[in-house]
Symmetry: C2
Subunit: 480 residues, 2 copies
Amino acid sequence: MVVFLFYIRHHLVYTNTSKKKYGGDSIGELQFEQVRKILQELIESKSFIKTAKALSELAAVEAAELLEELVENPAEILIIFRLLPKDFSAEVFAFLEPEQQESVASAVSDEELKHLINELAFDDKIDFFEEMPANLVTKMLSLTNIQERKLVNQFLNYPESSAGSLMTIEFVELVEDMTVKEALRHIRNVGEDMETIYTIFVKSKNRKLSGVVSLRELVIADEKAIIKDICHDNVIYAYTTDDQEEVAEMFKRYDFITIPVVDNEQRLVGIITVDDILDVVDVENTEDFHKMAGILPLEEEYGKTSIFNEAKSRFLWLLILMIGATFTGSIIQRYEEVLVSVVILSSFIPMLMDTAGNAGAQSSTVVIRSLSLGTVDVKDFFVIVWKEFRVSLLVGLFLSVINYLRIVFLLRMDAMVGLVVSLTLFLVILMAKTLGGILPVVAKTIGIDPAVMASPLITTIVDTLALIAYFQIATHLLAI
Amino acid sequence: MVVFLFYIRHHLVYTNTSKKKYGGDSIGELQFEQVRKILQELIESKSFIKTAKALSELAAVEAAELLEELVENPAEILIIFRLLPKDFSAEVFAFLEPEQQESVASAVSDEELKHLINELAFDDKIDFFEEMPANLVTKMLSLTNIQERKLVNQFLNYPESSAGSLMTIEFVELVEDMTVKEALRHIRNVGEDMETIYTIFVKSKNRKLSGVVSLRELVIADEKAIIKDICHDNVIYAYTTDDQEEVAEMFKRYDFITIPVVDNEQRLVGIITVDDILDVVDVENTEDFHKMAGILPLEEEYGKTSIFNEAKSRFLWLLILMIGATFTGSIIQRYEEVLVSVVILSSFIPMLMDTAGNAGAQSSTVVIRSLSLGTVDVKDFFVIVWKEFRVSLLVGLFLSVINYLRIVFLLRMDAMVGLVVSLTLFLVILMAKTLGGILPVVAKTIGIDPAVMASPLITTIVDTLALIAYFQIATHLLAI
């Protein structure tokens, strides 16, 4: 079976038989499905040694995924995990979900645990410590040396979502007065365990960040040249306390692979690489999606939150909006006699309210997103308002004409009712879209997150306005 | 003035006076503001030579931004642009907005234009050609050599948002049977203009992608070793026709810096680097935000769309939803006599509709986002439904109790009315949240983009259900 597995991999992918391990060794989608099937059979027949052997042929991330997906019994996961080659098992460990990491970490011997922790890249290690329960962290910290323990503690204290909590300390740094020859020797000596050796930062004698040089430039430079003379002196950097969203903006703006992180005395303390930023961008976008639906931020993924926390995150805004909608209700109450005298009017209330909400949500979404991407700014206030106003004129005109034709010719209702409803619709779209454009910018100007001004809040606001407009127009045109 | 500017930069940033240019030379936020002010004064006093000199001290992206922001007259932009050092002006050109690029490209001489185009990185060049009007593209293509013209035409034919349109052809490739020494010599010879030389892909003699090796590994390998023996044979790759979203997923999963792109005969034709993926992630997220607000995808940024296109993108969904809301209206019509006999009931309609819409939008947003991030999958259908059901029980219970207390004790209304409204509210939240969880998964299962099942559509659906429930409960409990 294992032979067959290898056959598939080498037949389908390449015929090269080199067996050197590499983080990127992997297989395509199609082959991945086939490997999954074969592994499933191996696991069902409890052939754990063969399973481990097959897994060790995959990229660590794939092995971790398949292990978690195919093996349901935690004890069996542990068995297979311990049968993996030692270094590979440490790689796989880094990709396991926190629950699995915890179950593995609690079960293995101190010696094994020490190996697992030591093999983790520094930033993975911090993530890991952050996820584990306190008693396990204490045990694990006792297995690391004092120096590292101090560093870990320092990292665990950086505010969440700060550049400090995102950076790694595994980087090469050069001193200004080194020669190129010394620098290259230093890189060769320490480069093995570093996150990157392609962008190298330079510090001055007082340990402040003072320059950047690429490995490419070092390699082509004269061996006797002094680093200070060949490095670039204006470096884009982040502070440990900078928010990760700002760091992501830097990466987007400058197209960098690596950005250095300094403390408040300008001393180089870490680097952030762009692959970690991809996750940040996802997290930040999820936060925006949730905020825009009236959900308070949650720490964990959807699959992992408790029912109670999930309910808590949704409760507050629903309550605020529910109370807000009471005002809309009181409008209806105030105009009761209008509704009683022309009963048909009440049947258009949902359509007017929904369209108002939708039109407002469209505008606010577009503006919120543009603000967050930086394609428009608060100083474009009048540009935005003027644009939304003209867009709403077009959209409003179209929709109210269609609506009028439908009411008068399709539903064969009174032309005056058609006029009242369509005129209201037009005004409502105008108001909703213009407000949808204005409110996010106003929010940003006064320091509130524009994302709050999304669909739910806009809907509640424009619903009230829509009903007032509706009843006012009806009272006048129908002479009630 | 210029002296002062330099003083600021060097005083605030570093004292190193090395003047070597580098894409990353730049300044912090604080200094950027000061430089902006000084440049503004220079431009206002028409000191264009000094302006150009000051700009050339910045990173190209910053110079482009400031040029566009501070100089309003296109003729003046052109004057300053032509005063920039030749190579730097080409770098700045790549960062200008398409409109500015077009105005510069139409105004400069053929010789200058040729230089600008040739200095652009290949992927920037393709972006540029895609943005320019046809007559300008023809003129520019006539200035490039035949070979490059063919390549450009080929790239312009890749489907938009495909890996092919995203990749660059500026990469180093090695042949399997090269020695390490030959490989390093080859890299030194061609490496200068390449996007990256740190991850290098290997092809077999029949030109198929067969391996990957890092510069780090090459440097430490034995000079006489054969590439085939030291490279890694299982490579993650994308096809030219793959959607950019899939490519972004690969980067997120494997934490790569570079991914190779092959044609359908497995031949290596380009590479994609992670910095280009950051933009892709933003674009894809914007698409989702817009879809979820019922906006059809737009090609351009908000600031650049025409009023007509913007209106068109918002019109269709508003129309569909407007017609959909008619059903909601017809429910009210059908239960007219209920409303007439207990008039107070109508004032709770907005609150019930809004809360239904908001509760449904919360659930659908959370589920849509989880589906798009891959943290849940369609196979988790029952997990999602069960979770949403329990969350809605909690949220519904809280809100309806508060609502009952408010109606009976605060508004001092009839206890039975309070019961009808609160019971409806409870049921409505239950329905809305459960449907909000179910519909996106159903959509994905039948091959529709789950993002369509967001707030606007959910709102229209649950509004109808909410009103039916309301009137049914009222009829029974109030014995109308």
